[in-house]
Amino acid sequence: MKLVLSWLEELAPALARGGTDPSAVDSLAATMTALGLQVEHVLTVGTTVDGVITARVLRTERHPEAAKVHRVFVDAGDGVERHVWCGAFNMAAGDVLPWATPGTLMPDGRTIEPRPILGISSEGMLCSARELGLGDDHAGILILPSDTPLGVPYGEALGIETETVFDVDLTRNRPDCWGHLGAARDVAAKLGVALAAAPLPLVADGPHRSAPVVLVDGERCPRFSTLVLSGVSVGASTPWMARRLAAAGMRSINNVVDVSNYVMLELNQPNHAYDLDTLGSHGFRIRRAREGETMNTLDGVARTVTADDVLICDGDDVPIGIGGVIGGLESEIVPTTTVVALEVAVFEPTAITRTMNRLGVRSEASGRFERGVDPFGIERTQARFVELLRETCPDLVVHAGAVDERHPSLPAVQRCADVRVSEVNRLLGTALTATQIEALIAPIGYTRLDVGGDANESVLTIVLPSWRTDSHAEIDVVEEVARHYGYDTIGTAVPRSSMHGRLSGVQHRRRRLREVLLGIGLDEAITDTFLHADDLVRASLPGDAIRVTNPLQADEDVLRPSMRPGLLRALAFNESHRRPGVRLFEIGHVYPPGDRVSDLPPEYEGLAVALAGGTAPAAMAVWRELASAMGFGARVDQGKVPTGLHPTRSATLSIGRDIVGSVGEIHPDVLDAFGVSERVAWLELDLSVLLAAEPKIVQWKPISRFPSTDIDLAFQVPDTVAAERVDRAIRQSAAGLLASLRLFDVFRGSGVAEGNRSLAYRLRLQASDRTLTDADIAAVRDKAIAAVVKLGGALRS
């Protein structure tokens, strides 16, 4: 909302005590911001360019060698002849022009310097309207009236007045400030200055002449009033009104439309003037639209409306406007209009929102109705309209017979809220008395009707101003007290938390997990939440996924069921930027589609690790590191490989029947699809399961004081037998005497049968109660060999 300073000052004369002095303007802006009327920018409109003065053309002269420019000799009133080169030829001797003196800084950033052409210098420049920011005209030099005094700033000569404008970002709870009066009232109250008197009530001075109204749908339009005015002559607005409208960002159209807009910008009450003679049956019908009904709106578009939209029709039921949103083409004010029907109405806000969204139309009026206009501001609007229109239509006649149709859904004339003084102080941390509270809010229209309560509790019955349609309850009044008391005067106090500040177990373990991953050199990524449907296909992920119904990018509507596509894309990006071998992890939510019956999908937090250039053992190493650091345990099952992973180099990780992750390598087809040329080691874990469990606390085992003995055993084991099984078999066979077991060599090749590999283990044997004898060691060795042989292996000699 653009609030014009001079306008605010007309409504509250003592507002800016320092006038347009920059510090006074800044201080006013700060006051507005402190009240919640956040001033985004302070603009000055109607500024002129310093150093441009009026000058008269003495004569013009062509130069034989210059085709595109000529020489203009001017006099700025001091009798000195100055020479200017000029590329425009629209002037003659005697014309008065704006002349930019040498050294002038033009709005486009140029500084006017004596730039010689053909060795003859130019003293300054003659300006077009566009060069002075006065419009788009750049066809020639701006010619001023011939009686314009010479040597004066052109702004003065043209009567340009500057206006200071506050560009204010208004919140939803301040509908009143969409009119200058609302803002002026708020700021005046804060500064303790008075508002100017309201216009005198309307007096009908003409014969009875009505524009009757049939309110068919009063729920959408709780109040609709008409007033007939004759003696209207359509013409130009007064210059001051045109100037203020322009400063507020509206174009001047004609005196009637301008007054209508002006009143709206002042009182936040949209209104509409119709040419009464063009209205069928000279009246109005307000009804719901019929499904599919069409009408031509004044922007020249044929619009189709629905049964949820409200139409303003003439007395013959012909639509002339979409209620509260946009008018029609037919009954507009034209130059010959002499009799006007002024409509001032109130529309139901939520229906206005729906209509606006359906039609994609947002007008000055609809925005105001959506936020809420004063349902009892109609009389003042009419009075102000007449007062202002009289300035250009001295013969204006206000006819008796004004119509005011109301529906029971119109709010009560007087709405009240009971406000406990103790509640104000309890919420604000203040110690205000009832009197102080009243004094803070009475100037903004929250007046005390009554004081009740008892000795312990004083309760104020506060009348809520009708223009504050956002105010309903005690808490709304508390906020007004807070605003006018001043948020910065409320003070500060730090509450003493009665909770113990800490991370939860899961949060703590998540941090540890991240530390472990960072420690082994992985970098953290955050990849896209939204995937392309193709991503699922390319990553060989199941096609059923949750989709966004209104995605930002039409084709990126899939909520990721896995972080795989995102991480692969990140690897491909880095590879294409000469950074192969990137090792990334991501901790984030993934969204499997679930059953679509539960309240919410089975979203969970996952970890994904992608190591470019890494192979399955690297992924296993990360898993082992995490398992050891975090106390995770899971079965590695190579029999079940999720789709999209390398079929012979991947496994699922399970706990009991639950799959908690997968480990291995990305399938080469998937890598091809994502444009990754290196192998990619992959680990994916469901952290909602793995982080949920508190790891077991490790219990101390005594360290044996007896010597240990190492034996090395190498077996030839068929590839079909997992090393994990060999490991388990050895551990079981050595029972209590095995201090540690380490696989230290794996070998395929000469000396090892086809389809087999050599697995070499080092067993460290130790007893807790004695030194092992040769017989003990031999027994363990024999049992271990027997166990591996049972699996199909053979001791290598």
Binding site: L427, G429, D488, I490, T492, S497, H500, R511, N574
Partner: protein, 333 residues
Amino acid sequence: MLDDVATTLDRGVALISATASLADIDALDAELLGKRGALAGFKASLGTLASVDDRKAAGQALNSAVATLTEALQTRRRELAADARQLDLAAERLDLTEELSAPSRGHSHLVTQAWERLEDVFIGLGFQVAEGPEVETEFYNFEALNMPASHPARSGFDTMFTDYRDDGSVLLRTHTSPVQVRVMETIEPPIYMVMPGRVFRRDTPDATHMPVFHQIEGLVIDRDITMAHLAGTIDAFTKAFFGGAFASRLRPNYFPFTEPSAEFDIQRPDGSWIELGGCGMVHPNVLRAVGLDPDQWSGFAFGFGIDRMARERHGIDDIRDMYSNDIRFIEQF
């Protein structure tokens, strides 16, 4: 014999001092003191001496010579060992700046860094950390927060809806406030909690906006919580997170779920202000929606962007860079 012993002793001492290596010492040790060494020979021939006195004198001289030589050998051995260690050390010289590039520790995401720093500050102020689902119901994202279906403020959230249910009631949360509701539903006050998390708005990405970003909200519900407590907490946070030279202020704003509502700004030491986030006293309707009596309990809530904190801290021009997963970006922090 006494003379012979003396001569051998003198010769031995001279030889010891002339040794140049530990090997020489070992050889000399054997020659002088070994089983077949010079002194051993004298010891064996002690019995050939006639008088007891002679035998005693010779024996004493012999013992003394053995002791002297043993001592001299040890001293020399230590000297030579020290020399040898010195030589070894000199030969082992390394240039410690000859560093081959090796895998370094990884880098956590800037969002994570800011997220954890924020959590830590609030933990220090006595808060716990709550989390919740990113895919939410309309109820938790709007209705429970004093935004019924027709509330115009809903349109300001640029919500993305999902097809999870046919009625379109499941959406991507537009703020972490649903977690506040879930916390209030499950935990009896007093509540001092922050809710960091990922949120979604249908915003076209640009240098300062992402459709997917991160937020941290705070919620305090206790007896006699006032707006001064809100201002005090914001200020305590500002000083703990940014530094003691930073200040904060509240100015009126509007949110459906708080009243009075405020925007909070922080002031840099140079006097300039940055808009940081929104806050306010929890609206009585929100308390009622979770079954808390607004006459018994009061509280405040606040929220602001985590990504923004990271961007401010590291001077990042374009927030999109933070989500590029470009290793050249990640490695910088």
